[in-house]
């Protein structure tokens, strides 16, 4: 893996956290978007974890991490990208997913306090899946409510399931996380897709894309 963050303490904290877990090898830790691109070309990691804003370099100011991530995905489609954001604004999430959700995870930085969550996202993007931080989903749902979005109101249970779906979890994963039976989860998932007038799909990354597309409109 390669870790990119302009803040030294964060960069080193994430690196040590991942290395100590014994489940990841951090090949490089860098501080700008340009260095990240260079490190990926040299080290060929499976996954990249990057900050959004890393001043300096040739990318758009304020979006250096996101722009570098898109370049990396274009050059090396097999490399998964976890974007760690200090912003809960939806703007950055849409910026990350603007070309599709495959192989992208968008997590708030708080997640560095939850090693399992972080590793889960790393594994998901390594396999081409996608993850959206539940807090961001919550924000998107709230924004939709403010805008007076169409469709029926989701029940609290369905909202829980939606958040877990956005995390890139399968029905089985959701069932375990919410302590529900798999058939109950399936029922909720179907109900959500019906209410949101979306196409259901067993592919978790497609489900994330569908949810995101719905929330973004």
């Amino acid at each position: 893996m390669v870790v990119a963050d302009d803040h030294y303490l964060v960069r080193e904290g994430v690196r040590r956290l991942l290395e100590t877990s014994g489940q990841a090898v951090v090949a490089g830790a860098v501080g700008t978007g340009d260095e990240l691109l260079d490190a990926v070309r040299r080290l060929r990691p499976e996954v990249v974890i990057t900050d959004i804003r890393m001043p300096g370099g040739s990318f758009r100011p304020g979006f250096e991490g996101i722009d570098a991530a898109h370049r990396i995905r274009a050059e090396h489609p097999a490399v998964g990208v976890v974007v760690l954001s200090q912003f809960s604004d939806a703007l950055y999430a849409f910026e990350v997913f603007k070309h599709g959700t495959e192989g992208f995870a968008y997590l708030l930085k708080d997640r560095v306090g939850d090693l399992e969550e972080l590793l889960g996202a790393v594994r998901a993007v390594a396999g081409g899946g996608s993850v959206i931080d539940p807090k961001v989903v919550e924000g998107l749902l709230a924004r939709r409510a403010v805008r007076g979005g169409r469709g029926e109101e989701l029940t609290p249970r369905e909202r829980d399931v939606l958040r877990e779906m956005a995390r890139g979890r399968s029905n089985g994963g959701i069932a375990r996380a919410l302590h529900l039976s798999v058939s109950a989860v399936e029922k909720n998932v179907n109900s959500i897709f019906m209410k949101l007038e979306l196409e259901n799909s067993p592919d978790t990354h497609r489900r994330v894309a569908a949810v995101l597309a719905y929330l973004g409109t």
């Binding site: 963050d5 803040h7 708080d110 090693l115």
Partner: protein, 588 residues
């Protein structure tokens, strides 16, 4: 230059003379009741003085109105003279006959003026070009020759006075006089034809509004010359043709001028109804006072941008321009109307300028320019306050962005690092050394947060007041610094915005002294004198040339001071240290 009052009196008198002369002359010629023809003549003769009076009264600076009045007076007095000659037709030369002849001879300058000068000086009382001075002089001489010829001729004057010219010369001089008169008349007519020719040429060359105006004048002159030929040269006695000739002779010119003036707003005299009493006015242009008193109440409350919009609208209305634009020093433009055609009139207004597009009709006059210059004063002030407001808003925005960045990239990141460290400690069962490290990180974060909050608004300023906040600020500096505060100021509190502005001015000046000037000693003085709270920050650093270097932070603070009615100045020079002085008015 005569005073406006006497100009108006003179204009009214000249118009009255023309009207009364024509009416009295017509009445004397036929006696009462007048036949319809005399009524028609009188009515036609009223047109010219009315028009001349209007123009001279509303635009006394324009020669054209006076020219029309003089022409009308020649006509009116000439008609009076004819009337006198007929009334006093006793077969003997009496003084009244002499007066009659003198007055009747004014028909000569009437024709001369209306054929040559009225069309030539159309519309603004100036010659089309300097070359026309020759024609004007020639016409002047020719008219005088013709006039003398008529006055000094010994034969009958206009076939009216059977006794012949009372001033007539007999003997060999008679022939000279006759030749002089005839030559003068011929030359006048010739110049008139040249003027007509040039009018035709100018009409064909011109386009748009100018063409329409010139067309009227060309038609008017052609009509009047044609009328003269009909009545005088061909000596047509057929009454219908005579009628036609008389009507065109007397009516064509005034009709043409009236059309040009009112229909095409040529002399910028608009006709309209003002007020609830249907009071007909011939000049709807608002005066500067009217405009300003109309604008003032709304302007006070309007936002700077809206102020500029209203002022641009007022300029456009006042000058009857197709569009008017107010441009700020930074290039921002506020346009009233749709911007078509290039700017024809531009004046500076404060730090910006006003530009006006083409007039709705006609050309910009001296009055327009005066009006625009008068409007430039309030526009200049509005531009200044708009610029100030924009800079204040920008400075505030920049400050908010700076704070946001400091939070997101500073404190927030430190907390993220802390969380990562805690998670690491949890996952590995962290030892005491690791926990101590995390505690120190947390303390550092707290310090940074405190610093950040102080940068937004130091709590010591709101709690302890200006003196204490300045002392606190300077006590944390790495160089020797002193703070002098007047005892009176120490115990007093000022409005939040005043204390904030003064505090951040000192803060910025101190930061500059350390960062740019590498000062080793600082002196801050806070004093209250003459209703002003003044602060001075002096350093012994490298100094700079205020003429070439710009301290952006200081510009923002100067704006902040200006918004409070105060000011800021900087005295500095290479190697001479820097002295920043800021003041704000404070009220008891």
């Amino acid at each position: 230059m005569i005073s406006p009052t006497s100009a108006r009196f003179l204009a009214a008198s000249m118009a009255a003379v023309a009207v009364l002369g024509a009416a009295a002359g017509a009445a004397m010629e036929t006696g009462f009741p007048m036949p319809p023809g005399q009524w028609a003549f009188t009515a036609l003769a009223l047109l010219l003085p009315a028009l001349g009076w209007l123009v001279a009264d509303r635009r006394p600076g324009n020669l054209y109105g006076w020219l029309l009045l003089a022409t009308a007076d020649c006509l009116g007095l000439g008609a009076l003279g004819v009337g006198l000659l007929i009334v006093s037709d006793s077969g003997r030369p009496v003084p009244v006959t002499v007066l009659g002849v003198l007055l009747a001879s004014l028909f000569v300058p009437f024709y001369g003026l209306s054929w040559v000068f009225v069309p030539l000086f159309f519309p603004d009382g100036r010659l089309p070009s300097r070359r026309w001075r020759v024609a004007a002089w020639t016409a002047g001489v020719a008219i005088t020759m013709h006039w003398l010829g008529v006055l000094l001729a010994s034969d009958e004057v206009y076939v009216i006075s059977p006794i012949g010219g009372p001033l007539g010369i007999t003997g060999p001089g008679e022939l000279v006089v006759a030749g002089l008169g005839g030559l003068g008349q011929l030359a006048t007519f010739a110049v008139a034809l040249v003027v007509l020719g040039s009018l035709v040429a100018r009409t064909r060359r011109s386009t748009g509004a100018e063409r329409r105006q010139l067309r009227w004048m060309t038609a008017g002159l052609a009509g009047t010359l044609g009328g003269f030929l009909l009545t005088s040269v061909f000596l047509i006695v057929d009454s219908a043709a005579l009628w036609l000739g008389l009507v065109t002779l007397l009516g064509a010119m005034p009709a043409a001028i009236a059309a040009a003036v009112f229909r095409h707003n040529l002399l910028d005299i608009r006709v309209g109804i003002r007020g609830s009493r249907f009071f007909l006015v011939f000049d709807l242009r608002p005066t500067v006072d009217e405009l300003l008193s109309e604008l003032a109440p709304g302007l006070e409350e309007a936002e700077p941008g809206e102020q500029l919009g209203r002022l641009a609208g007022a300029v456009r209305t006042a000058l009857d321009a197709r569009w008017a634009a107010v441009t700020l020093a930074d290039g921002t433009r506020v346009v009233a109307g749709s911007e078509e055609g290039a700017a024809e009139l531009t004046v500076p207004a404060g730090q910006g300028r006003i530009a006006c597009g083409p007039k709705g009709a006609g050309r910009f006059t001296g009055d327009d320019r005066r009006l625009l210059r008068a409007l430039a004063v309030p526009v200049g002030l509005a531009i200044q306050s708009a610029g100030l407001a924009a800079r204040l808003v920008n400075a505030q925005e920049a400050e908010r962005r700076r704070i946001e960045r400091n939070i997101h990239d500073g404190v927030q990141q430190e907390i993220v690092a802390l969380i990562a460290g805690l998670e690491l400690a949890r996952a590995t069962g962290g030892d005491s050394a690791m926990l101590a490290l995390l505690r120190d990180q947390a303390r550092q974060t707290l310090d940074d947060l405190r610093e950040l909050a102080a940068g937004i608004h130091p709590s010591v300023l709101s709690q302890g007041g200006l003196a204490e906040a300045l002392e606190e600020r300077c006590s944390r500096l790495p160089v020797a610094s002193t703070v002098h505060v007047d005892p009176e100021v120490r115990v007093r509190r000022f409005p939040d915005e005043v204390e904030g502005a003064v505090y951040f001015t000192v803060s910025e000046a101190v930061a500059n002294a350390l960062k740019h000037a590498r000062a080793s000693a600082l002196d801050v003085r806070l004093a209250l004198a003459g209703g002003r709270l003044q602060v001075e920050v002096a350093d012994d650093g490298a100094g700079f040339d205020p003429a070439t270097a710009v301290r952006r932070g200081l510009v923002a603070l100067a704006d902040r001071m200006a918004a409070l009615g105060g000011g800021l100045d900087v005295v500095s020079g290479e190697g001479k240290g820097t002295r920043v002085r800021a003041w704000v008015p404070v009220h008891d």
